[in-house]
Each structure stands twice: as structure tokens, then as C-alpha cells.
Symmetry: D2
């Protein structure tokens, strides 16, 4: 269970205590504050604080463009214009802070997004809990045969069982030894900063993660993508659902222009133009590499023998 009864009581207190503010509020986001959204077997995502809403994006854009934005009548039109034309700075005017519990190997991917603020649980100071990510059976998948990075078919029967048994047994043994090493009963006890090195990468850690909306969208574009590793994608999807309630107009624009869209290269654009003129285009006449052509035809839903 990811949240202790103690923490549950604290969350209930926080959710019951409303205060007056003169700041912009997002009603959709107030519903999410502090509450726990479960992710994976022991992880979670919680909103701790936020700043701004859809209107704050427009307010900042209107400072920039002044009277020049009068032509754009409504907020939604303005937000879609900003997203379409990659005017990213107004989206940086919104900020959000999450409390996340996640396996270390997920944290290692996540932290590569540098434009964010992080406070992580320190295993130099404190003792980690005995909690490890063990994949659900439907996630125990083989190495992909066509993609160097990624998964193929789900493992079955004995092979899957053997994998899960190894993961469980090794995590348990490593944690037993971690505890034994730091124990002070009848001994000095190894320094925590050393003992932690015995724990595998599926042990859970937690952090506060604060990011602006523009950089959060960049995170979601990479991590809510179908090529992202499943174990980070489920966090990205949980966050995306929260963002949809926080800044519904901006999130819709992001989904239309970024997540659901596709980038055409100069060659791809040329092919589309030729195809629209009725010309037959093949891999050979496209000027694309084999890989690029496959991605191109998949994106356009074109049947091809290329």
C-alpha cells in the first residue's frame, strides 16, 4: 500500500482545510490537490501545489503582444494560436508541483528532463522502505525483435514465472542484506550511503517535482508517447489526465498540435504534395531511407509495398 494511514489522515486534513486567496484558481485542479493517484504496484502521483490556469497563459501572451492581440477574440483561439506557432513562453507562466513515488530505474529516465526542480528522498540520511516494483504478468515482455529498444510479445508460462520469481527473490534478499548491514544490533552498522548500493533498481524512491507547463508538455510528448517505456508512460498518462482538468484549453491544444500530430520532413512534405496531385510515389522515388519511409506511410495510413 503506497500511502500509510498516517499520511491518509494528513491528506484528509489538507483536503478539508480551505482558505481564501486572491490568486487565480483552477476548479478542476482543486479537486486533485493532495489526493493520491495510484501508479504501478506501489507508486503514486499527487498534486501538491499549482500556479496559474488557462487565463494566466492568455494574460502573459497579451502582455507580449499588447494591442496586437485584439484581433484574437477569445482565450481558446489565442491558446491554440500560441501552441500552433510554438510561442512557448506564455505556457511557462503556469507551474505545478507533484509528489511522486516511483521505482529508481524510472526516476533515472525522468531526471533527464533538466528544466525542473527536484527534491528526492535521500538514502544517505534515511532508510529506504522494503518496496519493489514487480511487473504485472501482462508486462513481462520479450525484447523486441524489430526495435532495438522496446518490448515484443508477452512472455508466458514457465519463462514468465521464472522471471517474476527471480525479481521477487533477489529484491527480498538484497533488502534483507541491506537491513542486516545497517543494523546497529550488536554491531556498528554500515553507513547508509554505502548500504544503499546493494538495492536493485526496482526499489521505490520518491520526490517532489516542480515544473512549468511548457516543459511539462515536453515531458508528456516524450513520455506519454507509445515508444516510451511502459513504466514511465503510466506516470505520464496519470499526469496528463490531471493537466486536462487543470488547463483544459491548453491541454486540448497540446493534444491536437503535438501528441496527435506528426512532423513531415522536407522529403515527406514533397511526397504528400506529389500524392495530392495524383502522382504515384514509391520508396524509391520518395528520396527517403527505408526507416523513414516506413514511418511516413504508417503516419499517413497509406498502403504500400515499399
Amino acid at each position: 500500500m503506497p500511502v500509510t494511514p498516517e499520511q491518509q489522515a494528513e491528506i484528509a486534513t489538507l483536503c478539508a482545510r480551505s482558505r481564501p486567496t486572491l490568486r487565480t484558481t483552477s476548479e478542476g485542479m482543486e479537486q486533485h490537490l493532495y489526493t493520491v493517484r495510484d501508479v504501478l504496484d506501489h507508486g503514486f502521483v499527487r498534486v501538491i501545489d499549482y500556479m496559474g490556469d488557462d487565463a494566466a497563459i492568455c494574460q502573459a501572451a497579451r502582455v507580449s503582444y499588447g494591442r496586437g492581440t485584439r484581433a484574437v477574440q477569445d482565450d481558446e483561439g489565442l491558446i491554440r494560436y500560441l501552441m500552433r506557432h510554438s510561442h512557448s513562453t506564455p505556457f511557462e507562466m503556469c507551474e505545478v508541483k507533484f509528489h511522486v513515488k516511483l521505482p529508481v530505474f524510472v526516476a533515472r529516465q525522468w531526471i533527464r528532463h533538466r528544466t525542473a526542480n527536484v527534491n528526492e528522498y535521500s538514502a544517505r540520511y534515511s532508510i529506504l522502505d522494503r518496496e519493489f516494483y514487480i511487473p504485472a504478468p501482462e508486462q513481462v515482455a520479450a525484447q523486441s525483435a524489430v526495435n532495438n529498444q522496446g518490448r515484443g510479445a508477452v512472455l508466458e508460462g514457465e519463462e514468465a514465472a521464472r522471471v517474476l520469481e527471480m525479481l521477487r527473490a533477489d529484491a527480498a534478499r538484497c533488502y534483507d542484506h541491506y537491513e542486516a548491514m545497517i543494523s546497529r544490533e550488536g554491531q556498528q552498522g554500515l553507513a547508509r550511503e554505502l548500504a544503499r548500493m546493494n538495492l536493485p533498481a526496482n526499489v521505490y524512491t520518491q520526490w517532489y517535482w516542480k515544473v512549468d507547463l511548457h516543459n511539462l508538455f515536453h515531458f508528456l510528448r516524450l513520455r506519454a508517447d507509445r515508444h516510451a517505456q511502459y513504466e514511465i508512460r503510466v506516470y505520464a498518462e496519470a499526469i496528463r489526465a490531471i493537466v486536462a482538468d487543470w488547463v483544459p484549453m491548453a491541454c486540448k491544444a497540446f493534444e491536437d498540435y503535438r501528441l496527435g500530430g506528426v512532423a513531415l520532413s522536407a522529403a515527406g512534405l514533397d511526397c504528400v504534395r506529389r500524392m495530392l496531385r495524383g502522382e504515384e510515389v514509391t520508396r524509391e522515388t520518395s528520396g527517403m531511407s527505408r526507416g523513414e519511409w516506413r514511418e511516413f506511410t504508417e503516419a499517413l495510413g497509406v498502403d504500400t509495398d515499399g
Copy 2:
């Protein structure tokens, strides 16, 4: 007058409209929201939004240090510990957004602080107002004779009058021509993005500026310093007064450990140790350069003939 009656009415509306929130609030900061703090002759600083308070800093630190922070009983002690030991990440968990009106030559210094979010009024889209910074008489100072960068004695009499007259006349003429160039009466009107190049650096611009508390303290350390140019220092001081009401514990720690403190070099530390042992130390035996020795003795309030 920096704020139009229209804007005054909008501010009054915003200040009258309180909403319930589950978020952390800072009572000291709520008093500042939206209200205009005048700076220089036409400039201002206004708080538009904020996230977090002193408690939010501690909350983030306690996630990092977990049970290891139990020893530190109270929030203030923890905040002072974090500041003293340069643990900067918990301070990044607070965020603030200002609306600032400022002369362009101040904006050019300010923007060098890169870790912030900015939306500036665009003179490509919109027409700038006829507002220029003209220094108050007591700010019309000569080039410093001892410091390559900075001001010396205040100019007096005819010289001062002549300077102010030049600044006023050139600003007026440049703005007249700016208006004449973009005017569409009986002509096509020059593109705004070109016409703006005729305006001097004391014309006012405005922006939304959003920054986390750690980086704001860094800004204040450099810009509220007595070596900073007066025209940016007054903005830094206005912001510092606001921060003191927003996060009083953190601001106090910042003033004690950063603003009011001093960094001793290895040589400086060695000299202090020797002086405390009763040894007489001179510039020659200090191992310092002339400039460093002057700064050292000034900082320690030591009388010296070195």
C-alpha cells in the same frame, strides 16, 4: 502616472475577489497581490501570483532528508541550516510571478538572469507609450574616479541642468519621430519593428517575470547590492520588501547568510586566524593583492595603513 484608471479599476476588482483554495497560502503575500509598488518615475512592481511559503521549503527538505531531519525541531532552524549549507533545491520549491514596468536599459541587465520565465511587451506588434526615465536630480552623478564601473559625486548646477535637458529633449524628439514614422495618416506607415529602433534606452517597457525563490535570492544578492546600478537596485529593494512578507524565515536567513555576510578567501581566512592569535598582519605579509587587501580590511572594519 504608471497605471491607467482602467488598470486601477481592474486591480480593485481583482483585490476584492477572494476565492477558496486548498493550496498553501502566505497571508503576508496576499496583501501584496496585484497592488502597484511605484519604482523610479514611471515604473512599478506588482505581484501577480505565487506558489508556496516557508512551510513549503521545509516540506520539500523533509522529503529529501526524511527521518534524518527529525533532529531539527522547528521550521526556522531547518531553513537556516539549509541556507547556511547551500542546500538550494528546497528554496526552488517556491515560485513567484511579477509584473514589472522598467526602462529598457534596466531590462537589459535584468534579462541576464537566465533561470526565469519572461513575457515582454512586444514593440513589433504594439506601439510603445511616451514614457521615459529621467533621473531625479540627486541621481545625476559623475563617473566614479576610483571605480571603472559606477558613480561618483552628484553633478550640480549648470552641468546637471544641461544633462537633464538633453535627456528630456532627445527622448521627446525621438518619440515624436517614432510616432511620425508609424503614422498612417496620408502615408503607409513604417513597420513598428523598424520604427522602435529610434527610441532611446530610457524608454519604458514591461514584462511578466516568473522565478523560483532560489534564483530570486541570487538576483537579489547581485542587484540589491550596493555595487549594483541604482536604477536596478531600487527594483531589487522593492522585491526584497515583498519577499520579506512572503517567506519571512527564508528572507531573514538570506539576509543573515548572504546579503549581510562576506566570503573570506583562503588567504583572508589565514589572516583572520593570525590576527586572532595576536599577530600583526600587513598587506605585505597577507599574501593578498592591493585590491583584495582593501576589500578585506573594509569588510572586517580593520584600520590599516596598507
Copy 3:
């Protein structure tokens, strides 16, 4: 003349002095080192130093993907794969440093690219030269009637002449007064940090600007774009020509996948699919706004009455 005889002599010396190094070198880039590429009437761009080449991008990528990249045989294929899939970190492994002389109003746009290192000439310490950007006649254009930001037709005859005369006269007068204010002849002389406020935004400044290749490509995508203001675009184009000699494979991939490409939204992608199936799509059935539809049909070169 943007470069003094003194500087010309220094450049000649630097270009004559070759040293042995074990580092990666780019022959194309060595040709550009130190030499002045004129931009606008008094500006320039010079390469001062660089790190890495096309091979360095591949080297970094191969550390990341290890044996997984064996399938990609050649460097060019790998670079194109990285660019196509927005794997940006290997491009960050190349770095370049420019010396740029540019008008202040261009510098103000340029500096908004935050992920770079800058040392600018300081008018607090030093006296600016009497050099101002005066547009060539074919650049004296009217405000665009269809685009809130940007230029329309070139001004002609008397109107153009009047604009150029104002720009020239105001710059000259402002500089005369700048000099008069700081002069110490028979007076104390105003502090430089104050006097500079009298100079218009077309005065030239200069800086050292250091940036990694990924962030440089981002700069070029925004500033070498046809919607960018002409006066910054000419700098971007000068830099792009240099980059093409420095990292020819990466630059080619950037041009194919970024500069020459186009981003389709979810709605745009859906329209293209329908059009390729032979369906007639109009603005009304596209699900797009008027502005988006115009951009979409222009990009695809589709004739439309929408």
C-alpha cells in the same frame, strides 16, 4: 567599417598561427576561424572557437545506444535517425563560440535564447562607438496589413527618405549628446551607466556568444525562418552557412527535418489522410480555424477557395 586595422592585424596573426592538437578538428570550420563575415551595415559574425564535429555526435550517440546502434552502419544514417526522432542530446556534444557585432534591438531578441553563454560589451565600463544601424532603402518597409507582426510593401519616395533622415539625424544628435554628457573637458562628466540611456536601439553592441549545436539549431529554426525580423534573420543565415561547413551531415539533416519540414496537427493529419483517399476536404469539414486552414493549404500547396 566594422573591424579596425588593429583588429585586422590581430586576425591575420591568429589565422597564420597553426598549432598541433589531438582533438577532433573540422576542416570546414578551420577555414572560418576568426575571419569576419559582414552582416548589415556595421555588424559581423566571427567564429572564435568550436568543439566537435559530425563524428562527435555519433560518438556520443554510440555511448548511449552501445551495441544497439550496430545496425546503423554509417554516420550519416545515424545522424539522420537522431534528428528524425528528436534525440537531441548527442547534438549537445558540439559547441561553438561566436563574436558578434549587432544592433541593440537585435541583441534584445537574440538574448531570449537562454541556453547559451554570453559576455557583452559593457557600457557601464566603456564608451560605445558612434555606429548605428540605418536600414538599406529596400528594407524600409510599411507595417504589414495582414500580419500584426511584420512588414508589408517597401516605402518609396519622400516617405522613405523622410524615415531615413529621421533615423540618421536622431542617432547623430543622441550620440553627440552622449559624448557631451560623458566628456570631462571642463566638467565632471556624467557616469557612463547613465549616459548610455540616451542612445537609441539601433546603436551597435557586441558580444561573445557560446552555444551547443542542439540549441543553435533551435535558434536557427526560429531566426532563419521567413517570419523572423529581417535584421536578426541575416545573422541567422550567416551562422547557418558556417554551420553547414562545420557539421555538414547534421546541418543537412536539420534542413531536411526541421527547416524544410512542417508539423501537421491531428486535424491536419486527418485531412491529409482523407484527401489521399480521394475525399474532398473544405475548411468547413476540416475542423480547423480559418487561420490554421490557410497555413495548412499553403504548406501543402493545395489550391483552395476556403
Copy 4:
């Protein structure tokens, strides 16, 4: 052995191949290029590339300060002035790229320095080697009794032996199972991105790490400090030795003003002033907390009963 014979041959080739360049070179740094500096039991640091030297710092500073820097005659004086007054941007004009092999738990601390470029070996694509950090006996230390973070006395005898045996056995077993899971012999083989979660935090990874000199000094100040964890400190010290050969003047200034210095708070400064006037100052009259007083008296080498 950290470097394979294959890699040794490649390094020998690189070190034998000198090329002419017009760029600034640092003779001290050329000696380090590509060569392996061993760290810990299987780790290393290698310089892959660099940009700039001490002269490049001065060159950038002189662009900023123009004629204002004429007073400072020599490069070393200028560099010391810049360091003393926290003028950090000229130091950003130097850049260095390292190839580092390091345990994952060290990598997790290291990556928190966000202002750097990184390409890490990807265990999604590739198979990690069977290499684990096992501390040398003199590093197997107990949790500190006085410091929540850090180490106390070295463990001895049976306790130490037991710890080392656990670390060795668990690493070996986890790696055996990692191999068994991904093996394709007679089975599909688990996806690498999943299997890696079974490996403990002392497994080695490697990356390319590129950083500017200002941010590298910040890294060294935190990580070459005696409070840093030993396992990252040894990397910082290896890098510091390299930097001393690369930019000897800047490194000396950094050591004098940062590493060897100390920051006095407002209270500390006041105490020093009083002590220099002959006043007796105690913890009670210092205005400091117990912890701050302890640090203060230690720094000044003052004997105290406080």
C-alpha cells in the same frame, strides 16, 4: 579491468594522431586527452575534448569590460578579480567533455547538476557489463554518530567481512539472473529495459559529460568537499587535477577563493570584528545557533568551550 584491449588500441591511435588547428590550445590539457585516469575499482575519467584556456577567460572578460579593463595589466590578476567578485560569465566560455565510468549510485548524485550535457549508456538498448563497485576495506565505514549524513569509524573484522561478502554475493547473483532473464537460449528473452531493474546500484554505467568551467567549478566545490560522499569525491578530485593542468590560473583562483575559503554570515562577521577589537565572544553572546557556532569556531581555529 576498466578498459578493453580494443579500447586501449583506439586510445593509442588517437594519442598518436596530431592535427593542425587555429584554435586556442592548452598544452597542459593536450597531455590528458583520451588517456584513462583510474577511479575506484573499475571506474575512470577521460578527457575527450575541450574548448578554451586561461586566455579565453580574459578575452571574454575584456569584451565585456572593454577599455575599462586596461587597468588590470596581467591575465592572472584579471582572473583573480573575476573569481573574487563572482563575475561568472567569462568562466562559462571554457568547455570540457569527459568520458566517465562510474557506479549507478554515484551517477544518481552527479546527474543532479543540471547545467551540463549528458549521453549515458542505455540499458534499454544494450547489455550492461558484469562490473560492480565493491568498496576497499578502508572504505567500509559505519554510519556517523554525529552527522546524519556521512560515515564514522571504519568497520573491522567480522562485521566488515560480512558486509563485503554480502555485496559481492548479491551483485553476482543479481547479475547471473539478469543474464538468465535476457538470454535467448531456448526462450524468448526478457526485454532489456525490464531486466536491468534487477541490477543493484553499484553496477557500473558510463557517460559522456560536457560542462562549462563555471558549472564545473560549482560541481567541484560541492563534490570535492570533505562532506561529499567518498565515492563521488574521488571523481571530483581526479577532475580537479586535470583542470589544474588545463586552466592553471583559473584553477588556482578557484582554490584560493572558493575551495579554501569560508563564508561568514552577518553574525559571524560581527563576531570576528568584535574579537579583533579584543572583545571576548561566547556562543551565548554570538547570536548564533549551537551548530553554526561549532562550524564558525572550527573554521577560525578558535579554541572554545561553547
